[in-house]
Subunit: 92 residues, 2 copies
């Protein structure tokens, strides 16, 4: 199965991005309660697989980092969530 | 974050069990389209963490293996799924 979903943090990044037009890096950092190094490595993996795009805008001081989900990421996340919902529907 | 959810197969095992009173081992094997060795190692991990119970009933030939989700597993899975649904609600 797709290794992208073998990480709770990556799944939650996709969930957050799925729900928003775009997202600030610092919002993800706060919301997911993880470290900069950890979050960044997950974002790079998602970007490499074409699930998300990361854009950096230079500011007077530092840089603003904006993240958006791409079509592939949205599709794969929707599929994953649909599976979980379908599987977990009480059947008995 | 809880390492139990760092595996797509484990999450899907929990989803299936959450939706049923109990489950046959062979049903999981077919539904998750994985190997015996892989499925078994994930089940043992879930059992060790008290998320599920595994019972074996001897048959004339071989054994019948039944798996049930436990309270802890159901609670953790519900929490996980709720997070994903809340996170992914369109907000913009």
């Amino acid at each position: 199965m797709d290794s992208i979903f073998n990480s709770e943090v990556r799944v939650k990044i996709l969930a957050l991005l799925y729900g928003m037009e775009y997202c600030e890096y610092n919002y993800l950092l706060k919301k997911l309660n993880t470290t900069h190094g950890n979050l960044w490595s997950h974002l790079k993996k998602l970007e490499k697989e074409d699930y998300i795009e990361i854009k950096k805008y230079p500011l007077k001081k530092g840089v603003r980092t904006i993240i958006k989900i791409k079509n592939k990421g949205a599709e794969k996340f929707r599929e994953y969530l649909n599976d979980l919902m379908e599987f977990s529907k009480k059947k008995v």
